[in-house]
């Protein structure tokens, strides 16, 4: 059939089984929006307040559903507003396709109105980007974009389409949904070496990263941990890969991680690192990181091997296949002595239980955890609240934890929570700070307009808490540009944006308003007033180790 470029875009989206896209219209995508208008019964378009919010929403949608998130924006400032969202997704390996319009080819390169070289602009923040000059290549380019986004190590891909190409006609034939490339199979020789290492280990630890979630290998990790009797420690991106109630679960290690988790990993004689990239927030000083242990490093991406840590055995390939092979071939172990040692470390260095007479982040997060249904998706922004949530919230299943791990994007949370709520159609939590929330709070409008069940819990301390903490500990207490002034009334703000607002100053308030929030329709904002003196401790200093953890 003969179709315009814009019609082809819609047909390929349908081919790829895309039924929701996030975006913001503009002059050079109007042809595409005209086709979206005609296809509203097949593809739902969620209009956001800003293209950045749309990109975070597509990202959140993808993290929760496992599908490729799609975002559309116009040329010029529309495309530049996507950059932070693309970088966030790129850092965390989230499959996304971003479609941008551009000026007609006759104006290309003339500094035209709202013109930007989106393809070059996004080289550093995408797996790949395309500029489509020829409508006959548009369909296959789009299919390729979806394939690249979800193949191997997933990531965002941008397609920039000039406006005249969107209007040109060409022949189009529907194809089957583009599948991802088959992953490289892990080499048997290396895997057998790993089996041998695991069988010999007396103090094994599994270091679980975001790759376990991306590859849908949660079941395989659990089975391997049980078979080789290994405790499981997590990077921030790996959280939710295993239920926090599992007896082998230790929680997040690293800079703001749990002290017992970091210390257990430091005592291991074998670390099975799965889908982690050994980012410095997790490892600290790489010379002192797991000094006593041999390392097996499993990852889909060969360039992660040897980038920061040189492992004793490197296995490149499909993580699910590798973990299954290891579990099937290792011996059933019972490392009784190791278990006793780990329990002692947990007793000495583990988190103290919550005391509900205090209205502190730990108590707030653990209380909310118990009130909301199990399996609720939880998003965060970036800062102290993010680390508190990572430490204190007990996840029960994968794809329920949405946080900007690699890029640390403040303002990620509201958009991501919107994407998650659209994907799940269930109540979605956002833990945020008063600093982060204000970066993209305009997206509350989006949540209100669409009646999205997002419950925003602001841990409001009147400060940029993480910056204040770092200035206190490492810059002689010279706290500067961190005081947010406490003049914003988030309850009134909620009302102004069409949401429901509550304030909680103590645990009793919180329990009452949370139960109400679960019944409310549309977005809810809960302003929790906490002390500005709360710190995120224990903390391993930058480039530190378990030998210099700061506890007060």
């Amino acid at each position: 059939m003969l179709l315009t470029g814009s019609q082809i875009i819609i047909e390929v989206l349908k081919e790829q089984k895309v039924d929701v896209i996030f975006g913001y219209p503009g002059g050079h995508v109007l042809s595409i929006y005209d086709e979206l208008f005609k296809n509203q019964d097949r593809i739902k378009h969620i209009l956001t307040a800003d293209e950045q919010g749309a990109s975070h929403a597509a990202d959140g949608y993808s993290r929760v559903s496992g599908e490729v998130g799609v975002v559309i924006a116009t040329s010029g400032p529309g495309a530049t507003n996507l950059v932070t969202g693309l970088a966030t997704a790129f850092s965390d390996s989230i499959p996304m396709v971003a479609i941008t319009g551009n000026v007609p080819l006759r104006l290309s390169g003339t500094d035209s109105f709202q013109e930007i070289d989106a393809m070059s602009l996004t080289v550093a923040v995408t797996k790949h980007s395309f500029f489509v000059r020829n409508v006959e290549k548009l369909a296959d380019t789009m299919r390729d974009a979806f394939r690249i986004a979800k193949s191997g190590r997933p990531g965002p891909v941008l397609i920039d389409i000039p406006h005249d190409v969107q209007k040109e006609l060409c022949t189009f034939e529907t194809k089957e949904k583009q599948q991802k490339d088959e992953n490289e199979q892990p080499p048997i020789e290396e895997m057998n070496k790993a089996v041998e290492m695991i069988n010999q280990a007396k103090r094994p630890v599994i270091y679980c990263g975001g790759g376990v979630i991306n590859s849908n290998s949660a079941e395989e990790i659990k089975k391997l941990a049980e078979k080789c009797d290994a405790y499981v420690v997590f990077s921030m991106m790996g959280l939710s890969a295993m239920s926090a109630e599992h007896p082998k679960y230790l929680g997040m290690a690293g800079m703001y991680g749990r002290q017992d988790a970091s210390r257990v990993m430091a005592q291991a004689d074998l670390v099975i690192a799965t889908g982690v990239r050994f980012a410095e927030r997790g490892t600290g000083d790489k010379e002192k990181f797991v000094e006593k242990a041999k390392i097996i490093h499993l990852d889909i991406d060969i360039s992660e091997h040897g980038k920061i840590i040189n492992a004793d055995t490197e296995i490149t390939g499909d993580l699910k296949t590798a973990l299954k092979y290891l579990e099937e071939n290792v011996e059933q172990k019972h490392n009784t002595q190791w278990s006793e040692e780990v329990e002692k470390i947990k007793q000495t260095y583990g988190e103290k239980p919550a005391d509900k007479k205090f209205f502190r982040p730990k108590e707030i997060i653990e209380t909310i955890n118990k009130i909301v249904p199990k399996g609720t998706a939880v998003a965060t922004d970036v800062g102290q609240h993010q680390m508190w949530t990572a430490k204190y919230y007990s996840f029960s299943k994968p794809r329920t934890w949405l946080t900007s791990g690699g890029f640390g994007t403040m303002g990620f949370g509201m958009g991501a929570a919107i994407g998650a709520a659209v994907a799940t159609k269930q109540k979605t939590l956002l833990f945020t700070g008063d600093g982060s929330f204000c970066m993209n709070m305009n997206e509350v409008i989006t949540a209100s307009r669409n009646n999205l069940p997002v419950i925003v819990v602001i841990l409001n301390n009147g400060n940029l808490g993480m910056i204040k903490q770092l200035q206190t500990f490492f810059y002689g207490g010279n706290c500067f540009s961190i005081d947010l002034g406490n003049k914003t009334d988030f309850v009134k703000l909620a009302d102004a944006f069409g949401a429901t607002g509550y304030r909680a100053k103590n645990m009793e308030d919180l329990e009452i308003v949370m139960k109400k929030a679960l019944q409310d329709i549309g977005p809810v904002i809960i302003d929790c007033i906490i002390s500005p003196e709360e710190n995120t401790l224990p903390m391993m200093p930058p480039n530190g180790s378990v030998n210099n953890i700061i506890t007060k």
Partner: protein, 79 residues
């Protein structure tokens, strides 16, 4: 530190140069020499890039380059 040469065979696309050079910059390399040449196929080009670095860093750069969509082959030669 030594001078190493990376030889790349790639698809002849309009964005190839910017992707290769920005990847070198991103990973902290300074390009010493860069030769961009045609091949007998108009769809493929060859690049010869020399940098000064530890050999292991060069190997890491090779792994990063082979992830680029348009790169067909990449090899490392110590000079």
């Amino acid at each position: 530190m030594e001078t190493i040469k990376i030889v790349i065979m790639a698809n002849n696309t309009e964005d190839l140069l910017i992707r290769v050079t920005s990847l070198f910059h991103k990973r902290g390399f300074r390009i010493k020499t860069f030769v961009f040449d045609e091949t007998t196929s108009c769809d493929l080009v060859k690049m010869y890039i020399t940098v000064v670095c530890d050999y292991s860093k060069g190997e890491q750069m090779l792994r990063q380059l082979t992830k680029l969509y348009d790169i067909k082959e990449a090899d490392l030669i110590a000079c």
